[in-house]
């Protein structure tokens, strides 16, 4: 393992302290927790948004804390859901009395820990609602299983529900908008290399030099299949067509696109991918309202990407375009 860390068990703590030292004007750490909140939290008269999950996905989620997006982010251990007491601390720190929306990525651990925290908060008289993001089309959707994972599409939920909260909407209305995003966003990823969880000390898996894994999850969960590595055009077309077909995108639809790096893939390659994505959408008569290219939901130092597409209506487009002031949203 070759990493710039002090001690594997201290990585998250050290990162949080580094973040606060870099951005004291934007973020503060709730004492004795791994929670980062807006420097001006709780924001009076506003519904608050809390998200979080395992660390290692930076800028998710603390990078989306700020005006127009999240009020708080709970940073779990690397790739490990935070515990209920931490989530509860976040809820209590950001609630202004207008209620709190929890944005949860669909993983067994995240759902359990956030639900336990929600129950504890409700017992203390705080109004809490939760939405679960499941945008990863690599996983078969079924009511009998855990279902689809939440990946990069989650950032669109933060952005749009956050904008609606900033507008002064009620908790119910913020939830409605969040659910609309979840219903209309799909993602699909792929990986070229593995990544190493600091405490594990060695890569979680390995991908041969001439292969790639399609459908890889953001914690290195196995994807749908391994294949011989292909050109960017072919990879982009494969991922995009799975997304488009799953969401039933049609000519005339308006969308936002996110080409996300899993950590090690440089912008140059992301733009190479987007050439195909942009051209394909155009040729199908789909209007691209906005394209986001960069690191949004990473998986430590994994090389690879994910492509997310969000179908927009007037309301979602307006909220997507609204101002946001956070470290990670560009």
């Amino acid at each position: 393992m070759k990493k710039l860390i002090n001690h594997p068990e201290q990585v998250v703590r050290d990162m949080i302290e580094g973040v606060v030292l870099a951005h004291p004007d934007r973020l503060k750490n709730v004492p004795d927790t791994s929670v980062l909140i807006r420097a001006d939290a709780p924001v009076r008269g506003k519904v608050a948004l809390v998200s979080g999950g395992g660390s290692g996905h930076e800028p998710a989620h603390a990078g989306y804390v700020g005006k127009g997006m999240l009020d708080g982010a709970v940073c779990g251990e690397v790739f490990t859901s935070p515990t209920p007491d931490q989530v509860l601390a976040a809820i209590k720190a950001v609630d202004s009395g207008e209620g709190v929306l929890l944005v949860i990525k669909n993983y067994t651990g995240d759902v359990m820990n956030f639900e336990m925290a929600a129950e504890l908060a409700e017992a203390e008289g705080i109004q809490v609602t939760k939405v679960i993001v499941n945008d990863d089309v690599a996983v078969e959707n079924s009511t009998y299983t855990t279902g689809r994972r939440g990946i990069a599409g989650t950032v669109f939920v933060h952005k749009i529900a956050g904008a609606q909260a900033e507008n002064g909407a009620s908790l119910q209305d913020v939830e409605r908008v969040a659910l609309k995003v979840i219903e209309n966003v799909r993602s699909m990823g792929m990986a070229l290399t593995s990544c190493t969880v600091p405490a594990a000390g060695k890569p979680g898996f390995s991908i041969p030099e001439d292969e790639m894994e399609i459908g890889m999850g953001i914690h290195g969960e196995p994807g749908t299949h391994r294949a011989k590595i292909a050109e960017a055009d072919s990879v982009a077309s494969q991922l995009l067509s799975l997304v488009i077909n799953d969401m039933g995108l049609q000519e005339g639809d308006r969308v936002a696109v996110m080409i996300n790096s899993l950590g090690a893939t440089p912008q140059m390659e992301l733009y190479v991918l987007n050439k195909t994505v942009g051209q394909t959408l155009k040729s199908r008569g789909i209007q691209v309202h906005k394209t986001y290219v960069g690191e949004y939901m990473t998986s430590l130092e994994m090389a690879g990407c994910s492509i997310s597409v969000l179908r927009l209506d007037e309301e979602l487009a307006e909220l997507l375009d609204a101002d946001a002031d956070t470290l990670g949203w560009k």
Binding site: G54, T80, M112, N113, M116, V139, H219, G220, E221, P222
Partner: protein
């Protein structure tokens, strides 16, 4: 035969040690079909359990199990924290005020814990989870009661942990693999087997000492 608080504390200490020893193995099992953090998280949680129960004198089994469960919920994270934790918290609720418990009461504790895990995880036996060890262990103890042969109980729990190899995961992170999860042991079932093996060893040693 009664199980004393002292034996229960010793059980949990032994289990913590065993899980710490097997940290890398459990993590490897999880790397194969999950996200590769089971050993890391569980051993961190159980180390906290050990330091908490060693720094407190318990004269109430309910209180002991509550301390164990809430420590696991607060320190493990992931899915295994809430799952192991809720089993101790809810399962232990009926044992408030007890200084020692019978084997029948211990198996009752397991059954209550299993119900809590099922409700939290929306899972059943056969989903390739911890339940595939907890449930057969609970039934085994209910069936054999005072006549339980501890060596056989250990074999029984490993036999069931091994059986998870043939199951297809439908809950938890391994479920993303579907059919491809077949052929791998479930990391939670294996860590559960270590937990119960530690219990049976403690009880066997205790009996010999008497």
């Amino acid at each position: 035969m009664a199980i004393t608080i002292k034996q229960l504390v010793l059980w949990l200490e032994t289990a913590s040690q065993r899980i710490l020893q097997q940290k890398s193995y459990l993590t490897e099992l999880d790397q194969a079909i999950g996200d590769g953090d089971h050993g890391i998280n569980l051993s961190r949680g159980f180390q906290e359990v050990t330091s908490r129960i060693q720094s407190t004198e318990y004269d109430d089994v309910g209180q002991l199990f509550n301390a164990v469960g809430s420590t696991l919920i607060q320190k493990v994270g992931g899915a295994s924290g809430p799952i192991y934790g809720i089993a101790f918290v809810k399962g232990g609720a009926a044992l408030k005020g007890r200084q020692e418990i019978t084997i029948a009461e211990f198996s009752q504790f397991l059954h209550q814990g299993i119900a809590a895990i099922k409700s939290l995880g929306k899972s059943e036996e056969g989903n390739k989870t911890v339940l595939d060890v907890w449930a057969p262990v609970a039934s085994y103890l209910t069936e054999n009661g005072e006549n339980t042969d501890w060596a056989k109980a250990i074999d029984h729990c490993w036999e069931h942990a091994e059986k998870t190899k043939d199951l297809k995961a439908t809950k938890g992170r391994a479920s993303y693999l579907g059919e491809r999860s077949i052929g791998h042991l479930d990391p939670g079932a294996v860590s559960s087997a270590y937990l119960f093996e530690a219990l049976f060893q403690t009880l066997a040693d205790g009996n010999r000492a008497v």
